[in-house]
């Protein structure tokens, strides 16, 4: 493993973290976008070096969101929504730098706790999952989709989006290498030449997360950049670690919540920080202070969203199921290098696994040191005009899509198709995360389902194969029932 840790490896982690922080700091740009845009750079880097860059971008991107959340009251990334609630009031009363440093320390602790969980839990889960047959593998995917749909803002739309993702993924040939019969299906007449292999994963992801975000910003007129005068970093109140006195439970609990939410497939950082924040408020002795500049709120939100980073890698590296949209993009990096993630990944690639853990650790340390020391300079990133950034990002999206299959123009058009689709998803209230997970897991789900039926010739096998299958059905029913009960209690209804 030590031979993998080269100066280039370390430089890529730190460089990725810096670029990630920059992406996270600019409202409208996310960690997912940073990973999407930088994916083509990993083609020539090799797996470990490529992952070093992408993991740095991931940690930096999630962390950078706290900068505009605190200084401008605008979350840089969806995962920083709750950071604005207490961070911005603190900045307004001259405690901007203090609030930023509380957020940075909390992010660091959240990241480390989730990394520990990843390190301990993923190999165990993978060892357990190795024993799964096609039946259990199919049910795991089904369970992942129901959990994701259950946690969507609209259960019905969430399930529909997940199945739509599976349907779109089935376009093309039933792959012979996976035991299929090599015949094409669902291809519009006249497009067989381009669509024989269906839509490639990366152009779909880059379109949905890169191009769609730019269309979304263009629709609202590409908001003006922020001037330096709006940033209230300096203040009279300075940061000291004594702020964390009495907050250790909050810090550990919120990091744990973030990690747990990360482990749930397809659930993003916004859910992690909102859950952590609402728990911190519930258990606080002074809930009335929340939303008015309470440091405990920033601690909960930031440790929660960074807790997601390690957690989201657990299902990816042990089951091959991405924990959130950014880790879905990491599948693309593995695919580029010809490696399949799943239960066998850690056992077959121990060096890559150790390199990933090490990269995450260094990325968290780099994020902490860089942001803590240079927060005043990172704050200036908010002022970079979007009319300079967006055209360059769009150009990078094109490169990413074009080079994925070594020069197929149809992939560039796929980028545009899914860029427009991503924008339409928002308008039609479809859910992007379940769609993506459905799209990624659809082909595997098909193979597991059809091969199970071919082998056993009886549909009851999905219920009777093993106690794990029965348990998974209980969990599937539980997640759907839980969502329905929650929806009735909170009066969640169809959006008007």
């Amino acid at each position: 493993m030590l031979e993998l840790i080269t100066p280039l490896f370390l430089t890529l982690i730190v460089g990725g973290t810096i670029v990630g922080i920059i992406f996270g700091s600019i409202p409208g740009m996310t960690a997912t976008m940073a990973v999407a845009v930088c994916l083509p750079i990993t083609y020539s880097l090799g797996l470990e070096n490529g992952l070093a860059l992408l993991l740095g971008l991931y940690v930096g991107g999630i962390s950078g969101g706290l900068v505009p959340a605190i200084l401008l009251g605008i979350p840089g990334t969806p995962s920083s929504i709750t950071t604005t609630l207490d961070g911005y009031p603190m900045a307004q009363r001259g405690e901007g730098e203090k609030a930023l440093r509380i957020g940075i320390v909390s992010s660091f602790v959240g990241g480390l706790i989730s990394l520990l969980v990843l390190w301990l839990f993923a190999p165990t889960l993978a060892d357990f999952a190795i024993k799964f047959s096609y039946v259990e593998k199919f049910l795991i995917i089904f369970f992942a989709l129901t959990v994701m749909a259950a946690l969507s803002s609209d259960l019905l739309m969430g399930i529909f989006s997940g199945f739509l993702g599976i349907f779109v993924a089935l376009i093309g040939t039933y792959d012979i290498s996976n035991g299929g019969n090599g015949k094409m299906r669902l291809i519009p007449p006249g497009t067989e030449y381009w669509m024989e292999d269906g839509f490639s994963l990366l152009p779909v992801l880059i379109g949905l997360f890169g191009l769609a975000a730019i269309f979304d910003q263009a629709e609202i007129g590409v908001p003006r950049g922020h001037s330096r005068d709006e940033l209230r970093v300096k203040g009279t109140s300075t940061f000291s670690l004594s702020v964390f006195r009495g907050q250790i439970v909050n810090l550990v609990r919120s990091s744990g919540i973030g990690t747990f939410v990360g482990i749930l497939p397809g659930v993003g950082g916004s859910a992690a920080s909102i859950l952590a924040y609402s728990n911190a408020k519930t258990f606080s002795k002074h809930p009335e202070r929340f939303g008015k500049g309470e440091p405990a709120g920033i601690i909960a939100s930031e440790s929660g969203n960074n807790g997601l980073t390690g957690g989201a890698l657990v299902p990816l590296l042990s089951l091959g199921i991405p924990g959130d949209s950014t880790t879905a993009l990491l599948i693309g990096a593995f695919t580029l290098q010809g490696i399949q993630v799943g239960p066998l990944f850690i056992g077959n690639n121990p060096d890559t696994w150790n390199a990933m853990i090490f990269a995450m650790l260094i990325a968290n340390i780099a994020m902490f040191v860089l942001m803590y020391v240079a927060i005043r300079y990172f704050a200036l990133v908010v002022t970079i005009p979007k009319h300079i950034l967006f055209p360059v990002i769009l150009m990078m999206c094109v490169i990413g899509a074009y080079t994925i299959n070594y020069g197929i123009m149809f992939d560039v058009w796929t980028l545009l198709i899914f860029g427009i689709a991503g924008w339409l998803f928002i308008k039609l209230r479809l859910e992007v995360a379940p769609f993506i997970i459905g799209f990624i897991l659809g082909p595997s789900a098909e193979v597991y389902f059809v091969k199970s039926l071919e082998s056993f010739g009886d549909v009851t096998i999905f219920f009777t194969k093993s106690w794990i299958a029965a348990l998974l059905w209980v969990l599937i029913a539980g997640s759907l029932a839980g969502s329905l009960i929650l929806s009735r209690r909170t009066g969640r209804t169809a959006p008007e």
Binding site: I41, F167, A218, I220, V222, H387, M395, T403, D458
Partner: protein
């Protein structure tokens, strides 16, 4: 009772089994959405006219048109100098500049100069990076 749950898969038609099931599930879910959200769907016309009304049409449709032109011209331009990536380079420079202008709010010389510099520097740098160190062919 076992015969009710028995399934025989015809390998020659096995590529249609899963898509058919998923299509049926989608149809059922679509129907459920149609029933539940019938009032919202009935008011879709007003919703979309509201979206269009609030939209910054120049920037949204401008982005769409520029992107379409960018993608469409890349290959024909690249065909003039095959396998050099010139299609990407020569189309990216005006695309970055024009979309920069499109997204800009105050089109003063002070704001336009940095966009012009970025559009002259970024595409050649990316072209060089992918063509030489990475050995990847661009259109």
């Amino acid at each position: 009772m076992g015969f009710l749950t028995d399934v025989t898969i015809d390998f020659e038609r096995s590529h249609l089994i899963f898509p058919t099931i998923i299509a049926c599930v989608l149809a059922v879910l679509g129907l459920a959405i149609l029933v539940r959200d019938r009032h919202r769907i009935a008011g879709a016309g007003a919703y979309w006219s509201g979206v269009l009304g609030r939209m910054d049409k120049m920037r949204f449709f401008g982005t769409l048109v520029l992107t379409l032109l960018y993608f469409s011209l890349m290959v024909p331009v690249g065909m003039i100098w095959p396998n050099t990536g010139m299609g990407f380079l020569l189309c990216s420079i005006p695309f970055v500049f024009l979309s920069g202008l499109l997204f800009m709010h105050d089109r003063t010389v002070r704001n336009i100069v940095p966009v012009a510099i970025v559009s002259l520097v970024a595409p050649p740098f990316v072209w060089w990076l992918f063509t030489y160190p990475f050995f990847l062919t661009l259109p």
